[in-house]
Amino acid sequence: MTQPLLQASGVQVAYEGNRALELAALQVGRGEVVGVVGANGAGKSTLVNALAGWSRGTPRVSGEVTLDGRRIDGWAPHQRIRAGLALVPEGRLVFGRMSVDENLCTAFAPAEGPGRHVYSRDEIYELFPRLQERRRHWGLQLSGGERQMLGIGRALMMGPQLLLLDEPSIGLAPKLVSQVLATLRTLAGKGLSILLVEQNVRAAIEVVDRLVLLERGRVVLEGPAAQVGNDPRIAEAYLGTQA
């Protein structure tokens, strides 16, 4: 059996003494798309941020994280990114005072390798033609959907093995949500592993291989999307009712 690309165990995150995440174990296989779903405050963003070693706050994080067999917990965010773990966070995604072209530049020269494709700027424009039309515009002039594309594009230019995406559909029109999620499926088809945090469960089920349900910072349900997608706990988490 091949080793999973990402393995996390015993990951705990606390803000000011309040525990936000208590993850016993999580794995993402090579080329696998894993969806993380859960109600607001379930710890979804905390999970992907902790894996990337990143946060806008100052949480206390512990636990073990390995990427491609290497321990990366304790590494700075830029080191994890260079190792192949890229995060596209929720919220502020682009440098507003830089053009789209400038946003699509990397701080380092990523190396191609097994399971790592370093996208060029031209490939990003091919993937998201809208960005090419707006290449001279400032980041702050872009719409929500364009910012999302730009955030994903920049992450792809760093040649990730695993892409962590936090709520890429938030605030987007349904048509754009479909477009972004279809792009993710295309990327997964090319071998990229993806850990997708998504509120829109129905849309997420369409693109993920496996689904993980978080409740109060703990995994309460996990399995193939087709199998667990209809579990009443999924609907309950979002609608507050029994399905």
Partner: protein
């Protein structure tokens, strides 16, 4: 009173202000930090240059880079000590620590260099240019040329190079810059080293115009503050024009009204500007550098 001579004096003074402020422009623009030890770092740069020339017999043109190395090293030490506070943007701690560094520098310099004022003479400061009633020294000319060259270089580095792009990323959003693969810690170190080197360079250029005292630094930090805020925080172009404008204002106000009230008048103008244009001269210019 010779008005043209006052304009020349103002231009030289203005370029000196701009040169002294350039490190702070980047520091405030990138790290969103203030360095209240800036004036004492200027004093240190002036004394190191003087010591290298007068005591060690180093040629002036080598003494200035030597002072810049010392300044950069001091900037790195400061940043090492303040790194945690920098990441947390803990401005109160940083303000107190930089003030503390300033006082330590002041005390250390008094211990090493004594309290006697020193004069730094260079071949440039001895060389005078006379055009009728008008005159200026080679040092004055060097200050103007150096300020223009340094500002053009900084603007080019920030706008046109990879390093400049990384610095701008950190300036805008250090957390997001981490996710773009930027080693933010290294950028902070680089900015502090640049600030130390830049203020030492400014001191090496400007100090030959005035007596060098270990007690100096307060006026320099105040004027730097005015230039950086007046120009628009983080704006390289704004700082240059603000420095020149402040120099001209100081020279002309001093000649036409009274030198005693120049600083007070400059602050009145600054207050008025901040009321009318809170972002400074470059306010409203997206991505202004």
């Amino acid at each position: 009173m010779n008005l043209t001579q006052q304009v020349i004096n103002g231009l030289v003074l203005g370029h000196a202000y701009a040169l002294v402020a350039i490190g702070w422009t980047l520091l405030l623009g990138v790290a969103r930090l203030v360095n209240f030890g800036h004036g004492q770092m200027y004093m240190l740069g002036a004394f190191v240059t003087w010591w290298a020339v007068a005591k060690a017999g180093v040629p002036y043109l080598l003494a200035v880079p030597f002072a810049m190395l010392v300044g950069a090293a001091f900037g790195l030490v400061m940043q090492r000590v303040m790194l945690k506070a920098t990441f947390e943007q803990n401005l109160v701690s940083i303000m107190i620590m930089t003030l503390g560094f300033g006082y330590v520098l002041h005390g250390g310099a008094a211990l090493i260099f004594g309290s006697t004022g020193q004069i730094l003479e260079t071949s440039l400061s001895r060389h005078e240019f006379n055009f009728g009633d008008l005159w200026f020294t080679g040092q004055d000319l060097a200050i103007v040329v150096a300020a223009i060259v340094v500002f053009i270089c900084l603007k080019w580095v920030l706008d046109g190079t990879r390093i400049g792009r990384l610095v701008r990323m950190v300036a805008e959003d250090p957390k997001l810059a981490q996710l773009a693969g930027v080693n933010v810690r290294r950028v902070y170190y680089g900015v502090f080293a640049f600030e130390g080197a830049a203020v030492a360079f400014a001191a090496g250029m400007v100090a030959p115009r005035t007596p060098i005292l270990t007690s100096m630094g307060f006026e320099e930090v105040i004027m730097t503050f005015v230039v950086v805020v007046f120009g628009g925080i983080g704006s390289v172009k704004g700082s240059y024009f603000a420095g020149v404008a402040l120099g001209l204002f100081t020279a002309l106000f001093g000649a036409l009204v009274s030198p005693a009230y120049t600083t007070a008048a400059a602050f009145l103008v600054l207050i008025a500007l901040l009321v009318l244009r809170p972002g400074g001269l470059s306010a409203g210019v997206a991505g202004a550098h």
